[in-house]
């Protein structure tokens, strides 16, 4: 693996390798000394054109736990505000010798452009590009699902993860909410499908993207019906992305109250689900809109654990992208 840009087309073998490596990384994070020397001397640049708290901090933590040097770059307060293009920024990073670039950008495809335009020879990790993909979020969601529903770590997440090498076949995941604006939903649909899980998207018709029929999932417009009849093992709530809804929330649904009644997740809807089911949210949460406080803080909510797993998953991604020789080195080992 040279880049991690999308979960669409990620092979099942690579996905399981990423999850297994994440499990090993997670095991090192319960030690007193959490730092590993593995990427000492490597430089990881966090190139963030969009605001982010947890993803940037998560990548920064992951890189530091592997002893890489981290340079944080946010568009605000940089030459981007003077009009510098992505290309010129990339050439600057190349000149400074970045080994990996973690990029978040509001334009879909920005990460792909950065990886394949020839501006950089660093590995590129997509940390969210527009409404396209957010692969490490999907991987941490899949990792959390696997730990809980395959690995039997128990409700407090402290048990031993026995899921190494396993996929998610037979599990049902409902992804609920603002699918239209969600790169998390897109990444999850493809990754969970690759890993063998069944996915149903639940959203009001206005928040279902055009072309969804080509995705490997089902679509429902009714949350209650899906929860009662389909009995999902995991429910993933999506944030209503009001900043991407031009003209305020009124243009996609009549009122926040109505959205909350029809598509918000609360304790009543949680009670309908099977006892082993888990509730997920990629954060940041709009409490009271897509998820109620009672559901978000419920023992079956794994939202805080998702954040912790994010560090392990990003350590795994950085390790697999940076630790070995370049892709051409596959045959080299035999001659060394």
């Amino acid at each position: 693996m040279k880049h991690l840009l999308t979960t669409q087309g990620l092979s099942k073998g690579d996905a399981i390798l990423l999850l297994d490596t994440s499990a090993q990384m997670a095991a090192t994070q319960s030690r007193e000394n959490k730092k590993l020397p593995t990427l000492r001397g490597r430089t990881v640049v966090n190139l963030f054109y969009e605001d982010s708290t947890r993803t940037r901090i998560s990548f920064e933590t992951a890189a530091k736990r592997l002893s890489a040097d981290v340079i944080n770059f946010s568009a605000k307060g940089s030459s981007v505000s003077k009009g510098e293009s992505l290309k010129d920024t990339a050439l600057t990073l190349h000149a400074m010798g970045a080994d990996a670039v973690v990029v978040r950008h509001s334009a879909s495809g920005a990460a792909h452009q950065l990886a394949h335009a020839g501006w950089l020879d660093a590995g590129v990790l997509n940390a969210g590009d527009g409404m396209h993909q957010h692969p490490t979020q999907a991987l941490l969601d899949a990792f959390t699902i696997r730990r809980h529903l395959v690995g039997n770590v128990g409700e407090d997440g402290r048990g031993t993860d026995t899921s190494a090498g396993a996929d998610l076949s037979g599990l049902r995941v409902a992804i609920v909410g603002d699918v239209l604006h969600s790169r998390v939903a897109r990444s999850n649909v493809y990754l969970l499908h690759t890993l063998g899980a069944e996915v149903t998207l639940v959203a009001p018709p206005t928040l279902v993207p055009v072309g969804v029929e080509t995705w490997p999932c089902r679509v429902s417009y009714h949350l209650d019906e899906t929860l009662e009849q389909w009995q999902p093992d995991a429910v993933m709530m999506l944030r209503v992305q009001r900043e991407r809804m031009s003209g305020g929330s009124g243009s996609f649904f009549p009122s926040p109250m109505e959205y909350s009644r029809k598509f918000g997740f609360d304790a009543r809807r949680l009670a309908v689900l099977p006892d082993h089911s888990i509730v997920m949210h990629p954060g940041p949460m709009n409490r009271g809109l897509e998820i109620s406080a009672a559901a978000a803080d419920h023992p079956r909510s794994v939202i805080v654990e998702q954040v912790a797993n994010g560090v392990a998953v990003r350590m795994a991604a950085l390790y697999l992208l940076l630790a070995g020789t370049d892709a051409a080195g596959t045959d080299e080992r035999n001659t060394l």
Partner: protein, 225 residues
């Protein structure tokens, strides 16, 4: 050096069939099943003798074959010293290696400490167990990995085969067999519970590796450096 920590599942038992691999046609078995068993029994006695018992003893095997050797040593120690509980652990050194950037990405293995330890190795007598001691670089990585887990009272090293050619100032405390080799030769340890077939230590003169072969997958020591 133990390249076997790379993707243990990728070692097909069929690779032990000499007819499938022309490079080991000239292979010579230097230790058979009974020799390996005797060597391990002797090492177990030496461990107890050197440490005056098995108090605070912790066997840590280095994947892949070191783990199975540690398990066998633990069984023997439990027979010799009834006070010993037969536990052993696994120490993965992948993320501490000094050759990560010279090799394709290795899969990270598992580090497992016996449950009775409560996650710490402080003040234990740690015996590292590996199959072949060669350059010493794997053991250097293991010492770094141990350092991150805690502060053992003593660290000792047991190796089934010491083939020489050290590149670092490291020696083994317990050796199954000293095997004088040339650098171009390859020493392979095959264990029934990892590779199938019968236990054996095989030495072969192969200096070049066919491109189709994955040297690290057969527990050999010499080709992959």
């Amino acid at each position: 050096m133990n390249p076997g920590s790379r993707m243990p599942e990728s070692s097909p038992p069929s690779s032990t069939d000499p007819s499938a691999d022309p490079s080991i046609l000239a292979a010579r078995t230097v230790l058979g099943e009974a020799d390996i068993a005797r060597a391990l029994t002797r090492i177990a006695h030496e461990i107890v003798e050197r440490n005056k018992g098995a108090a605070d003893l912790l066997l840590l095997g280095i994947p892949t074959r070191g783990v199975q050797l540690a398990r066998r040593l633990a069984e023997r120690l439990a027979e010799i010293e009834p006070a010993f509980n037969g536990e052993y652990g696994t120490l993965d050194v992948t993320m501490y290696r000094d050759d990560l950037r010279r090799q394709p990405t290795r899969a990270v293995g598992q580090t497992v400490l016996p449950g009775s330890l409560d996650g710490t190795i402080d003040d234990k007598v740690v015996v590292l167990v590996d199959d072949v001691l060669f350059s010493g670089r794997t053991i250097r990585a293991a010492l770094d990995a141990l350092n991150d887990l805690g502060r053992p009272r003593v660290v000792q090293l047991a190796a089934l085969v010491d083939r020489g050619h050290r590149e670092l100032p490291i020696r083994a405390d317990y050796v199954g067999k000293n095997l004088p080799t040339s650098r171009s030769e390859r020493v392979r340890v095959r264990l029934a519970d990892v590779d199938g077939g019968v236990d054996a230590v095989v030495i072969s003169a192969a200096s070049t590796t066919p491109a189709s072969m994955t040297p690290a997958s057969t527990g050999e020591s010499g080709g992959a450096r």
